[in-house]
């Protein structure tokens, strides 16, 4: 098995990084290119960019930011938010992203998962699931659907998803730990990697998640102290979870 991954998530709106707390109340924390390079140097295993303005406002995703990030970043990154067609996915992948993350659009038209996987491979398709009260939510977690979370995770896998990004709406922004029960339940049903998301408040929370799943998405814990990422990695390793060996750069 590959080593567990620590993945900072940058919420982007209008080309700037913003921080989401329970999906509302945004605060500008900077330039995506600069922050991406900084996290890469600090030992991030991968990055996720979510264009949070795209779905509610139906705006186009941020191709030029993707290209600028690809020119400086030597770790993989995923781009999500507003990917609604194979064309959207092509534009993002051909600008330098490794993967696209599908959310509402995949629920509305699950064949989109297969179409993108056929063209770029399953490893290029992440299906993001915002889960709460047993069902999938859309529109940044604000709208509940009637689709059961577990059934959707299985269907997404069957249609060609290469990874599931599973956000617990209940835990998101609370910093009281990941929803381990939900994460374990989804992971037990699928044979693709699962990224746990929502709730990271301490090294222990992250270590607990990485013991049961493949990767952990982190946001405010690292955005509030970007220089603390190497220390956070050491703390997680101190709790017995082996991460990839990194050399710290001055």
């Amino acid at each position: 098995m590959p080593l567990p991954r620590l993945i900072p998530c940058l919420d982007v709106a209008n080309g700037r990084v913003v921080k989401g707390v329970s999906f509302v109340g945004l605060r500008d924390v900077g330039d995506p290119v600069e922050l991406a390079a900084y996290y890469s140097a600090g030992g991030a295993d991968e990055l996720v960019f979510l264009d949070i303005a795209a779905t509610p406002e139906e705006s186009e995703t941020i191709t030029s930011v993707v290209a600028d990030v690809a020119d400086v970043l030597e770790i993989p990154f995923t781009v999500g938010g507003g990917v609604r067609s194979v064309r959207d996915a092509s534009r993002i992948i051909e600008s330098g992203a490794d993967r696209v993350s599908l959310n509402s659009a995949a629920l509305a038209d699950p064949t989109l998962i297969t179409d993108i996987a056929d063209r770029y491979g399953s490893q290029a398709v992440v299906v993001a699931i915002d889960a709460g009260d047993g069902v999938v939510h859309t529109h940044g977690g604000r709208v509940a659907t009637s689709t059961p979370t577990l059934a959707w995770a299985v269907e997404a896998t069957e249609r060609g998803a290469g990874e599931i990004l599973l956000t617990s709406i209940r835990q998101d922004g609370k910093r009281t730990g990941f929803d381990l029960e939900l994460t374990a339940a989804v992971r037990a049903l699928v044979r693709i990697p699962v990224i746990a998301s929502g709730g990271a408040g301490s090294a222990r929370h992250i270590a607990d998640a990485l013991r049961i799943t493949d990767a952990a998405l982190i946001a405010s814990i690292v955005h509030e102290n970007p220089s603390g990422l190497p220390g956070l990695r050491r703390e997680i390793e101190g709790l017995g979870v082996q991460l990839r060996p990194t050399k710290e750069r001055a």
Binding site: P76, G162, R191
Partner: protein, 184 residues
């Protein structure tokens, strides 16, 4: 001509490979032209798309012949991910595809606990962790390095193939790429 020619076969992302090559101080261009590919000081066959469409594209542009000419002339080529897989004799992907046949062996569907195999893993005997994202894997007597018991690097004559993505593997990847490109 640039130090490195990256083979264009239609789909996907050559931007990150170019950025990494620039980072290690070499010039690069993306080309599908057979003469350019055959005569480049160094060629990178990158890893994007599926085996069938990639081979169809390489055959159509004449790049496959150019890659075989380079191989015969002992000129260096680095295959990355799918680029490694295309150098073998055949692949199970897409119901079976005949590949370039530069390296003995075949490509089979990955049997692992989780597929795709995504993330950083240590490569032995090199002792460094690199980034992987694959659902197929080589089975080859030309294997020179492994990860989790899988063949992740093959060498045959002047062709070197790696299953991981050096352009996405941080400092370790840049160091690897720099060593490969020190030939030019």
């Amino acid at each position: 001509m640039s130090d490195v020619v990256i083979v264009d076969y239609g789909a996907g992302n050559t931007r990150s490979v170019r950025a990494a090559i620039t980072h290690v101080g070499k010039s690069s261009e993306v080309s599908a032209d057979p003469w350019t590919i055959a005569n480049a000081p160094y060629v990178v066959l990158p890893g994007v798309g599926s085996a069938r469409s990639a081979m169809a594209h390489l055959d159509e542009t004449g790049a496959s012949t150019a890659l075989r000419e380079r191989f015969t002339a002992n000129a260096p080529t680095l295959g990355i991910c799918l680029g490694l897989q295309l150098a073998l004799e055949s692949s199970e992907e897409d119901g079976g595809v005949a590949c370039l046949g530069l390296v003995p062996g075949n490509v089979v569907r990955l049997e692992a606990e989780r597929v795709p195999r995504l993330g950083w893993a240590v490569v032995e005997p090199w002792g460094e962790a690199y980034y992987f994202a694959h659902s197929f894997v080589a089975q080859s007597p030309a294997t020179i390095a492994t990860s989790d018991g899988l063949s992740v690097a093959v060498q045959s004559g002047s062709f070197l193939g790696v299953q991981f993505h050096p352009e996405k593997s941080g400092d370790a990847g840049l160091e690897f790429l720099g060593q490969c490109l020190s030939l030019v």
